[in-house]
């Protein structure tokens, strides 16, 4: 059994639930897991993490001061932590931050890197990711100093494996070159569920017709604790913000349930949601291509079907 590192994404003092699938992947057939957090006190995360088989949680800092605004220093500190704890494989969540940090680590060392992976085999040293906009899956064998792999949110189902946990802090001997700094984080649609981490997504396409009409999708999504997405046409027509776009040029998502309302089923849209567990299509054209690539379909006008679905969910 190997010792595997997992970079944990936190939100104030809690662990984002999307990490639990990554921990499950890291555990594999019984690996020892060290979790790394980049903010807060390690003890704050113990309870969340021990449920998923983490035996040690390490809060990483640097002796070059606060690194919260310095991603290069975070990456350098993580590289130092890997060395200190004798870890050669690190998994993370393939979120914007996770991808960014792992890529910085890979570039700073001499390491193979797989981002947005949908599977990993730590014993074989391979990861699985999609190529050609979801049309194919590639298995890649990575080599180099570290094995770095970021897992697409929700791609791996979480399973619990409670164990004892210890917490400690690690201060890395690392320095920043001062060439890059995060000045601020702007929030536009605050309070909204992050699409890529949502368990349920209800998406609207071209026929939605206006920004206001998205409210019927929001009500439906709210009834399931989900988030709302949009096709590129809906975004480009100004009905939805770019942050809501799903697809090849938008977010890659993999929720348990994806409900597409008024989507034709384009290749580029599917590139962003093909690995959803269950896909439902609502379309008024019985010959729409989406009906050939979904699990459940309803032929009908979305303006009737979606409100009826919301009502049925609330029953």
């Amino acid at each position: 059994m190997a010792r595997i590192g997992v970079l944990i994404e936190t939100n104030e003092n809690s662990v984002k639930p999307a990490n639990f699938g990554v921990l499950t992947a890291a555990r594999g057939a019984g690996n020892e897991i060290c979790a790394f957090v980049l903010e807060g006190d390690a003890t704050a995360f113990q309870d969340d993490l021990k449920t998923y088989g983490v035996s040690k949680v390490i809060a990483v800092g640097s002796n070059d001061g606060d690194f919260s605004k310095k991603p290069d220093l975070q990456a350098a500190s993580l590289v130092a932590a890997m060395k200190n704890f004798e870890i050669t494989a690190l998994l993370a969540l393939s979120s914007s931050r996770g991808k960014d940090l792992l890529a910085r680590m890979a570039a700073a060392t001499n390491s193979g890197l797989g981002l947005d992976c949908i599977g990993v085999d730590l014993e074989a040293g391979t990861c699985v990711k999609t190529y050609f906009a979801g049309k194919t899956e590639a298995t890649l064998k990575l080599s180099g100093d570290l094995f770095l792999c970021a897992i697409r949110p929700n791609a791996i189902e979480e399973t619990e494996a409670p164990c004892d946990i210890a917490a400690e802090a690690f201060t890395a001997d690392a320095a920043d070159d001062g060439k890059l700094v995060i000045k601020e984080v702007k929030t536009s649609d605050s309070g909204k569920v992050d699409l890529s981490e949502a368990n349920v997504i209800v998406t609207g396409g071209r026929p939605i017709g206006s920004k206001d009409n998205f409210s019927i999708l929001e009500e439906c999504a709210n009834a399931m604790g989900g988030a709302v997405g949009a096709s590129r046409v809906a975004v480009d027509s100004g009905f939805a913000s770019h942050a809501m776009q799903v697809g090849q040029t938008g977010k890659i998502v993999s929720p348990k349930l994806y409900i597409g309302c008024g989507l034709s089923g384009s290749v580029q849209h599917f590139a962003g949601m093909k690995t959803s567990k269950v896909i439902v299509a609502i379309n008024n054209d019985k010959d729409a291509p989406i009906f050939t690539k979904c699990d459940y379909g309803i032929v009908g006008d979305l303006f009737e079907v979606v409100p009826a679905l919301t009502a049925a969910l609330k029953k």
Binding site: R104, A107, T136, L140, Q268, A281, A312
Partner: protein, 255 residues
Amino acid sequence: MRVYVCVKHVPDTAANIKVVGGSGFDESVKFIVNPYDEYAIGEASQLVKKEGGEVVIVTLGKASAMTTVRAALAIGGDRGILIKTDKQFVESDETALILKKAIEDDGGADMIFAGKQAADSEGMQTCYRLAANLGMPVATEVVGFSYAGGKVVVEREIGGGEREVIEMTAPCVVGATKGLNEVRYPKLPDIMKAKKKPVNEIDAGSLKVDAAGLVELVALEQVPERSNAKMLEGSVTEAVDTLVKLLRDEAKVLE
């Protein structure tokens, strides 16, 4: 300033990809400028319009990638560099070393733009590796860019409706994504003009890059489409009631 834009020659995203021999694909499909790289070309052109200088398109690919260099030059840019290789696939690490060498040999960069990811192999890492090779800072998934007095400020989308505002020293590497600008689709005169722009063809081998070999493609498989969707019939109320029941009891994706 001299601004480089890294442009990859990729199969059209709408093309039907047929896997051949377990690790290759039928290359007789239409190839295009990697969609994200179009935003990079647009931003580089705007920067040079403001600051003066030239935009150079750099592509590593087979000889057939010349079509992509020309297509890129029709969108923007003053000249091109095509680094030719016979290899069907060059991994990100080696790609970044080759791009670095070609850019340095050409005179060096005051700014580098690229896409956030290649639409074919979706590696999402060439920008980072190129930046590290050149000792430059890097940011990707960039949707906002400004340059003033040797400093670059970018906005980067990070999900959940949040954007990071990042300041970097120039030169740096910027990985563009949709939202950075509106892609200007070239008109016939642009295409004609692009044919006359100089393109320097060099052989990847002549750059004598020594890459470690960090990735090996073990298998490439077609992903089957889902088929046999269950169509829910009846009145709207009946159909949605059945759907909710199936999602709860059969698919078990709802509580």
